[in-house]
Assembly symmetry: D2
Homo-oligomer: 286 residues x 4
């Protein structure tokens, strides 16, 4: 009976980095949560504890901070710099993945150095194998709601079905979306992100929805159609159920006005929209 | 050896209520988390399990939903309606406290019925004893940062002091603030809230700070000075530490640019600012 | 129009301290989360930013770690040492409160130095004003369930009541309990805690319950009756509702077997049980 | 420019099910969090909102509750029943994955119907494609610590390395482990789980560790070696750093006694151990 090491990776998770750019009239705040993950020839440490190939996770953290000294810029570019460094400078490391979450801050008008936290998180993930870099941008914690324009009916019924069909329901979700760029060479990461995020919002709002899947597909299609540099997009949409409260026991009607917002369970709809001609990268890319 | 029942109360916590107002060009969403708490002559249920005086928490929840049928309006007014109902309709209930959290939603421009969640939470708490109603408005989860304009020095040093004095640090906090109204009869709850929230932000930004306590006092003073209907304000301000990263080991300087945002431990500064002439309500009011 | 500073305090929250005692056959782990809070003559820093009286929260953290060098022992004793230090060594500090959470670790039998985290958290809070020290011990995150032996009926009904009476329900709660010691001089903090915790569990289990309030009172009474050094106990008991699922639509009965465990809303029952002869300490002590 | 639907799935997440078995001297509690996920011929709902193939997530929830009526048993068996039902009864569904988390409850001795929550969570995941069922068992939230017996040195140093080598550190982690069974036909799910969990604990404790990777491999190997029905195991081990506090500024030494338990960042070590002869299932199985 013998055993062997399978897939493995390691890294430093959730390095919290805040950079302040103080040039210009108004300061700029870049508030990040960075996770670095390395894979490669790491058998020795698993089998014998020989760490000759294990770049410490502490060093990975230090590298994140040191690289920020020269400026961070767009998070896709920052992740690319880091991923290439780890692979190109460490022969035993064959793949690096750098994930970045960016928290938004809005100016408080009173000064040039005051900010308040905005909702929503921008994300980037770069995977680099020494030759190719895959860049994925995204958004999470973007919670949205349509108070009408959503139906759900025509579904199959079996012994366990009790759900009523509806032609007018609240549709609410917390969007997690990741879109993969065709290449890693573009420079307009910032406008590309803003555009994709805006199209997500607009498509969510403007799609008359017969199912959350239909909304998902529409959102994905709009993300891709507005940016030729994007190959595919993956969305994960929890259906944040809002149930109409039965007020009849109190002698009251409820013309789609009073709802109970439920926590659990929730529907979870996940799907991918791809540009038809896009080649398959052959990796779990989100 | 005898025992007796001391202070006690009970209620329904975190009833999640969403109301949609569908009149007008644009729908309006009111998204609330409501907690009701009752106190009074409740000895019997504690000592013998006689529930003749225990209005069920399930009934309290139902009442919240039923009252929303007529509209919610400003959360202070909604909490007043509920608190008065519970005390006035139940002889054995001598005090009701109704707490409401309101989550903000911003319109997505594409339609009249689409929204995205905004940061920050508005709160209201009403305490009613059958005669007087105390109304407290507030805000929580309002995270703010000044990237300069904050010093900290002149503090006492003892055997355990290692902190360096600083004349330029990041000051960041997540504001929880509660302000008590002098009476319960005002009708401008909405503008009053918006004004107080704006003054909190402006005071945080505009105060050149020698300590977070000084910023706290300034914030409180500005909240009160802009609204004669407010008697006192209590603030709870975690000091969200941002530590300058030492880049010297990497041959780099760090001119106040690269920071580590720490989670724990954190400073916690709490204080009250009162209008000097304001009478003491004699209750733990926040 | 003048303003003044009201109640205020400040401190360092959530200093995470782990101490390992390596003497003896088996190591001992003390895993704590310590919050220190000071109050006193702190007007200057609020009004002018003069920090001459502000013992930095960073120094408070350092003190926690330094005091742990001599051993921690029972958390009540550790909190007493810290609270007395802060008040006795700083003339401007008139009151210190030190709160400690202790996380339990159970030995893994294989070695003398291996442990796994157990459920439940032990707590202590000491308030010291230069003369008197109030010591409160407690427990939190102690989740318990009775699968029978709980009824709820005889409650008042009004227009908004829909709840059915029940003579057999699941009763589940996550216990938060704080009990105040009559003095601060006892030395058996450890056995006192273990005894109180055991009596809480036994009373919860053994009380045939007509209301969660009745269970609460019984739990409080048992805590006090087993330890003459305890003056009062305060309990906060969320009613973690378990609703019987209606399986009738699927042609199935449900003889009290299949439940939905709800998150929100939840009942929240809070109460105090006091030794009748116990003097009132005149402070919000929990 | 054309787009197409890529990988997609949907289901009901986090259905909270509690079942009480009341036969016998002592009641038995089965406390579950069930997530069902279906994939198949779902293009229509994405493209046109035609829901003829969309078994509602509400129906999936109902099915979970209805199936519990006949008893739950071991969670692997329960997940198998559900997964097979969804695929076998719905022609358009080609793959079901059912994930179950089980929360442990320990008896309170006083009665036969009283319980307290224990630490740690047991998990099961079944993936069924109409022909084959892959069964994965596991554990999460199992937090463990060795107070000695852990070194870390011999790692590469670069410009960004500041970490000191150590020959005695605390090693602490929160184990997430998933092990795949070779087949789906075994009946000893319960003893198999208990054995694997015990071997994880023993291997963690008994491995003298030169790296967390070495501990991971040892844990994986022990899980497999004790149960011939297991093909591979995947572990995800956050390195919960405990940093020795520098007490020298206070004139104190610190002989490996006083530590700061850090939250973020943390190392994250992930790896797979496989039986060498085990065929590759060709799916992301954990």
């Amino acid at each position: 009976m013998t055993f062997e090491l399978g897939d493995n990776q390691y890294g430093k998770a959730e390095t919290r980095l805040v950079r302040v750019d103080r040039g210009g009239e108004r300061h700029r705040v870049t508030d990040l949560n960075v996770t670095t993950t390395l894979a490669g020839d790491l058998t020795a440490t698993h089998l014998t504890g020989d760490n000759a190939g294990v770049l410490p996770t502490d060093t990975q953290k230090n590298t994140v901070y040191a690289f920020a000294r020269d400026g961070v810029g767009e998070i896709e570019a920052f992740a690319l710099r880091l991923a290439k460094h780890f692979v190109d400078r460490n022969a035993q490391i064959h793949r690096a993945r750098v994930k970045v979450e960016q928290y938004g801050w809005e100016p408080i008008p009173a000064t040039g150095h005051s900010f308040s936290r905005a909702a929503g998180t921008r994300t980037a993930s770069v995977t680099y194998d020494g030759t190719t870099a895959w860049v994925v941008s995204g958004v999470q914690d973007l919670t949205v709601m349509n108070t009408t324009g959503s139906e759900f009916h025509g579904f199959p019924r079996d012994r366990y079905t009790t759900l009523q069909e509806t032609s007018d329901r609240i549709l609410a979700t917390a969007v997690t979306a990741h879109w993969r760029h065709s290449g890693s060479g573009r420079v307009d990461w910032g406008p590309s992100f803003t555009g994709a995020r805006d199209r997500l919002l607009t498509a969510f709002a403007a799609t008359y929805s017969l199912s959350l899947q239909q909304t998902l597909y529409s959102m994905g299609q709009h993300v891709l159609s507005g940016d030729e540099g994007l190959a595919e997009v993956r969305l994960s949409l929890p259906n944040k159920h809002h149930f109409l409260v039965d007020l009849e026991p109190f002698g009251l009607d409820n013309p789609n006005e009073v709802y109970f917002a439920a926590d659990r369970p929730y529907g979870l709809i996940e799907g991918t929209v791809k540009r038809s001609e896009a080649p398959d990268p052959g990796l779990a890319w989100w």
